[in-house]
Point group: D3
Chain length 208, copies 6
């Protein structure tokens, strides 16, 4: 016959060893190269492992007819240190996620509604583009320029999942034309015409 | 005025440097600790980055009223080395994915249809269980026992994404009762009654 | 002839560079995904690199006739960030370490006294079991269910070493029957009979 | 008194353990996620650790008045698996390395001759630009758009070193205008005017 | 009532996913930066996870009155990719493991018999030395010079465990005096007297 | 026509995701196994990515006729977490960097002026030595004993770059003869003659 009281010492030492099954981010703490400090285990609840922020459709009433809603560590602290995050893409008909990169992660795209064209450009300038329908997966390797857009007449929804809890997001047009990157440096380093640069800066709010 | 012929040398050296944007698995090659050897870049096509195997509903006409369809590196070789993979969970009403672990990855669960109860048990024996609806995310940290089951009267669909291209999957009941793990060792190391072990082995096909 | 005073500037710059040969844990600081903050180097002494807590035999006067004494980062802060830890296993005759996993590390078992049967179950439900004598080593890969028990009439001692300073420890029976994991969810996700669950919960103190 | 013959057994076991101090790439073997297979240790010579390909000035007689000469693993196989590589930048007066990213590595720039302006754009569209003179270092974090150009009337030389033996190189203009990325997709995903796209494609040789 | 035939499809897909719980080294294959290629899973047996080579005492009938018996990946292929290895140290009275480093791993020393003095020197030239008795643990951080020797009148045994399956071993005296490192370079880079170098080379067999 | 106000929401969410493009060290914070805590992004300026400390020649008016000037994370906090650092070597005629190791990084040496002999000793006691001229690169794998010295009649300059922001530096002679490592332990663990040890300790300031 087993006796619970005899097991308690082992139970306690096992419990003592359990720190770090997970490391829910304390976003107030200073982060470091591997992420945020951990919330004290005693304060962690089920709530820390749930995120409902991707349940609602993002607003596509904007010039790109699209929305990107991130669930990175800043939004979903439970992901801290786990090497995973996600984002929801909403694409109205004609919607487009402009050319961008994730400096710190590869992406796996899962289309859950509608029709999506996704593509990326490799370092050797090869272009990989695919029309995807519901349930199809597409890979966008780390750091490479890529895009998503809807085709067909219906809205589309996709989940992008990433190999980091903080993949980063650099949108090409915003980097060039919504920043204070000087027009002179842009034309020197991209060969774009000054008029083109000026036009897009006026639209996107860039200066310099 | 720019001249294309002057740029070619730089173009070539850039192209030379582009190896390893990705490493599509050559599943015939021997794998190693970090994954499979890469398919020669010249043979890689867009097809290598697309996977349609999760588009169709898995059959739930089985005793668990559920199906797990993996898109790990063995099914989707483009994931090799990227630290990402996925699986589709189909849960008919009453469906359940039995208690299991992924020895090599954390999991992020994305519910895309219906209602799913998911939960895990931490090393200190705390239990984290949550009823999830469409669009909600849930974290299942690496190596911990967890489960998913449908609730409500409708079927449910979820995508599980993993922080490894090969997360592994150890289903508790199969490890104990569908293997040749000797009944004597099972009772010694789990305190289950011999009758219970015998009963489940006869159902699940275990021996020993 | 060499002159010490000329070397001092180089000596100092070398010393300046020496931070981070090691990172003894400051257990009071918040930990992060890669471990605890480092104790200030000036306060580190030889004592931080020594641990005597595994020298004494653990008490086996309990229902499993066995003891696990951990030297993880929480007990031995000098291990912080080094990717190593250890535990001592004491097994009286008939002693058993129940089925368990380490979610965050592989294990290498070194038997130093007596006779030990160790085994693990792989993801494909293959079972690997071996009777080990003094001086023999056995591998228990990361995250897989495994156990150790003594055979023969003498007590046994073994050291388990791990590929992480914080490998974690999830004991199957405690996760199921010493937690508040609801009996209804247990039977649904393990196919165990309700009577079996009730019996083990009463022994191990589980609720729910 | 010491005797060499007694030491030989230890000598041999030490030698046996020495595999993998380094892993010079066998570029003919299939690479994998962590790099190329190792050249057999017995065939490794001092020559494998030396690279003279950056000693000569690269030709800047081209439209960018600049040259990038890589010493990545493909050129310098001894770097395989070491997490390091380099490139030489030659910038004639007015020379520019167009906007580009390294998808797989951070860069540390060391100016050794002349005057160089370097800059990068962060994910939040902040722009960091600095005029550098001989001996100054500049950081270009992983995956972010950056550039280098000479200022002043003299040629400039810099070494870029990378945190990977295969950092990758994606040049923005080549990705867009020297590839077969369709003009329609370019305008949709960058908001550039069709005329601009057409003009640069004709210069850089793009199609589609 | 459960039916085994319904479970088989799930069983198979789980089994399919199980590749890479472990990666037993195929020592004949070319190794790579992360280790050796894996032995085909179908050929793996329990034998691959067991190593008996440390059970026997190493011969200490040599000038150092000591023996180091490694269980690195070359001797114990099951360790491949697991980030762990071990060695057995046998020290007769007066035995010494000369000053050495492990370039690729930290070490945890476990004394199992007798009395051992162990020590290391940090980058700032601090010296950490400790007399250890049975059951005590000592840390030797990665890449730092360290030694072990017996004290007292009895033989001593210790296990060294490492944070890599291939930690490497560079013995200072062998590097200097059992190699073909030229005496001229040795005296220039160590400030040792030529007579001292000549004397130790003649004992240890060095040339150059 | 595009309208900036519609883009702002996306702009903000992108900006929110941009934390951790880099992690400039806050050297006042306690470091951890992966580096220092990050300086708040709002306080980061271009200055954090620039380091001018290697621009000036190090003083070689010392017994080794050489200087090592580090740009590790302690000197150049912007390198924190990037896996890169550098040092400048100045070698007057006859200058020598004595035998040393970097416990935590491999090194790539770039000669930018004069003539340098560099060499390392592998674990199997093979010696790799090379005379290098301007522009040549040489690899010094992690943790192995190595040296650099000038040859010819001119001063030499080289940059050493490392695969860690904190590579460490252990100079053999300082570890042995400028520390308080007891002479008795030195002779036991190195076989050096007591007179040799005494002589070098008196020059380098060692005690014990």
């Amino acid at each position: 016959m087993l006796h619970i009281f005899f097991l308690l010492p082992l139970l306690l030492s096992a419990s003592h060893a359990s720190v770090n099954d997970f490391c829910v981010a304390d976003l107030k703490g200073p982060d470091g190269p591997s992420g945020y400090p951990c919330k004290p285990p005693a304060k962690v609840t089920t709530h820390d492992f749930v995120y409902a922020g991707l349940a609602a459709e993002g607003s596509t009433a904007n010039i790109i007819n699209a929305a990107v809603t991130p669930a990175f560590v800043a939004q979903f602290p439970g992901l801290n240190g786990l090497g995973l995050s996600a984002a929801r893409l909403d694409l109205a008909p004609g919607g487009v996620i402009p050319l961008h990169t994730h400096p710190g992660a590869s992406e796996l795209l899962i289309v859950t509604e509608g029709l999506v064209t996704a593509g990326f450009i490799a370092s050797d300038n090869s272009v990989y583009v695919k029309k995807l329908s519901k349930g199809q997966l597409f890979i966008l390797p780390q750091g490479l320029l890529h895009f998503q857009l809807s085709y067909g007449k219906r809205k589309a929804v996709a989940y992008a999942v990433f190999s980091s809890s903080n993949p980063g997001l650099q949108i090409l047009d915003f980097a060039l034309f919504a920043s204070n990157f000087s027009s002179s440096l842009i034309t020197q380093t991209t060969f774009l015409d000054p008029e083109q640069v000026k036009k897009l800066k006026s639209v996107l709010g860039g200066s310099g």
